[in-house]
């Protein structure tokens, strides 16, 4: 029997997830939801066999098994709260970040606990072959005892934007920390466990109160020292990129979306590109990690168990972001 599924938010991420899910044999997309009149009118013409609605409340009538929330970040809390409160679906996937604050994230974790379904947040890089290879190398002790790391997330999205537009777009995307930096934070938490913020520096290039670049230092287990940086005004990043450089007692590991490199203390370099890491998927759209992410989420929905990053795991990103804002 197919799982009845709805997508809320018909932007690029909503369409991407709808497309990938449509290739799964055990999924039936029954409803799409967007508050834009223009988009819903068009969607009705395009998707003849799928119901299109403009309000989350209307999804109560669809007897859903699975829901994907792919709206802009500032709306996540209200929508996910509604999904659980109204019992719209018990398996809930939310694009990152889970919410707009650690308080909101904590409330959503409590709501998720009241449901027996799966929950997951879309930090897709956890399903990228390069980041998985790096995690494997860390866990195997290849780089030795961890000494320090630098995590980054860069894009060129805001280069050339006028102040007024930068403010508007930044707000709609939830700000730099949530929109872009969250990827670097999630990867650091995944690799190193709990972190605490020591100091931070937020740069507001457009002089508007919205952050354009951020740099902060953290401490982890066994006094691991870390630095996390993000900017969406970085030259040369036509596509957003995240990565880490990790110094260990046996060498230095660098990982990004494209490759993993390990240079040991003797100076030998080993390099893996995506090509070397079995990056095939059944259906490729955007990047292979999106397919794997949804595959794992749907498998966990079938089994009634959660896969990482669960709401609880993702709420740790919110805690770090709140610490950066307060420090």
């Amino acid at each position: 029997m197919k799982m009845r599924t709805a997508i809320v938010g018909l932007g690029k991420m909503g369409l991407l997830h709808a497309s990938i899910l449509s290739t799964f044999p055990n999924i039936q997309i029954v409803a799409l939801c967007d508050k834009s009149k223009l988009i819903t009118k068009f969607a009705k013409k395009i998707f003849e066999k799928i119901k299109i609605v403009n309000s989350v409340e209307l999804l109560r009538d669809f007897d859903l098994d699975v829901i994907y929330v792919t709206t802009p970040i500032p709306s996540h809390f209200k929508i996910v709260e509604m999904v659980y409160s109204y019992g719209i679906a018990h398996n809930v996937f939310v694009e990152k970040t889970l919410a707009s604050s650690s308080v909101e994230a904590s409330k959503l974790c409590q709501l998720a606990q009241t449901s027996d379904g799966a929950h997951m947040v879309g930090y897709e890089r956890r399903y990228a072959v390069t980041f998985n290879k790096a995690q494997e190398l860390i866990h195997q002790g290849v780089i030795g005892d961890l000494i320090s790391f630098k995590a980054y997330a860069y894009s060129s999205d805001f280069i050339g934007l006028k102040d007024e537009k930068a403010v508007k777009v930044s707000a709609s995307r939830g700000g730099l920390l949530r929109d872009l930096c969250a990827h670097a934070v999630d990867l650091a938490l995944w690799y190193f466990g709990d972190l605490r913020v020591i100091s931070s520096e937020l740069k507001c290039k457009h002089n508007t109160g919205f952050e354009d670049a951020v740099k902060f230092t953290v401490r982890g287990v066994d006094d691991l020292k870390g630095c996390i940086e993000a900017s969406w005004c970085m030259e040369g990043y036509r596509m957003p990129e995240a990565g880490l450089t990790i110094e260990g007692s046996k060498g230095v590991l660098h990982v990004s979306d494209d490759k993993v490199e390990f240079r040991n203390t003797a100076g030998s370099l080993i390099k893996w590109h995506r090509h070397d890491l079995k990056d095939d998927v059944e259906f490729l759209l955007g990047a292979p990690e999106y397919y794997r992410e949804s595959k794992h989420f749907i498998e966990s929905a079938v089994k009634g168990s959660s896969r990482e990053p669960s709401f609880f795991t993702a709420s740790k990103v919110e805690q770090i972001i709140d610490q950066v804002k307060k420090s």
Partner: protein, 294 residues
Amino acid sequence: MLILVGDNPFHGVSHLSQERARVRGDAVTTPEYAADLVMISLENGADGFMFSVSETTLSILRILGEKDVANGLRLYAITPAAAEIARLMGSEGGMEETAKRFARQMVTLGNFGAAFKGLKGAILMDPGSLLKSFVSYEISRIKSSAAKEAILDSVMLHEIVTDMGLALNLQWLFNLYIDFMLGLGIKPGFETRNFAFLVNRFREWNINLREIMIAAPFNKVGFQMNPSKVECEQALASLPEPNVVAISILAAGYLDLSEAAKYIKSLSNLKGFAVGVSREKHARETFEFLKERL
């Protein structure tokens, strides 16, 4: 075998790593330099140019026309320039804002015919009319930029559109696009990263595979050949005639030319292939070598 120059380097794209694209620097993304690379490629064995429709590539076409090298030049256009649109969606603040920006552009650039049809499509909320007007707009941009002697062989839907349409089972979109393009006398094409899936779907939908062109990755290491290299090769072998242009034959720079050429030669049902180049020497050597070997 049809040999095409690809345009990825001209947009600062490297599928091997973004770092590699950054190291190449900005020179390759300037239309004058890129046009020189296309010319060198043509002089050394390339038959045509495969490109995403963008301001950069349209400028390249204009320069090629001015330098009188367009005679017999075969063009394979890919639209929309989806990476650029995805970037615009990030900087414009969403789907609706991006759509409005495109509409403004269509009017500002004076393509009133396409804009009128587009407006009609928008008023009637008719995605089919909008698709046709957008494609007409793109074709008019190409034709007004390229010299008259250049031949627009095919206009291909970008992989994002093709693959979303395949996944979402939008048979009407493919039928409409094919009929519209055939009506214009231009071969309808589809770029895809899911070649085997596309061939299966098109057979289910009874789409005549002889009437279309397909651009899909084919390389020795199976890079971006989904769901697997073997299934893509089997799907290729099953086609009624060679209508596939292989892309990513160097697996984004992972393979060397001789490895790539050996693999491409082993495939029996290819119409041709496209390769991007980023330096003059690279252009000369690449196309000389490939022309000789393939």
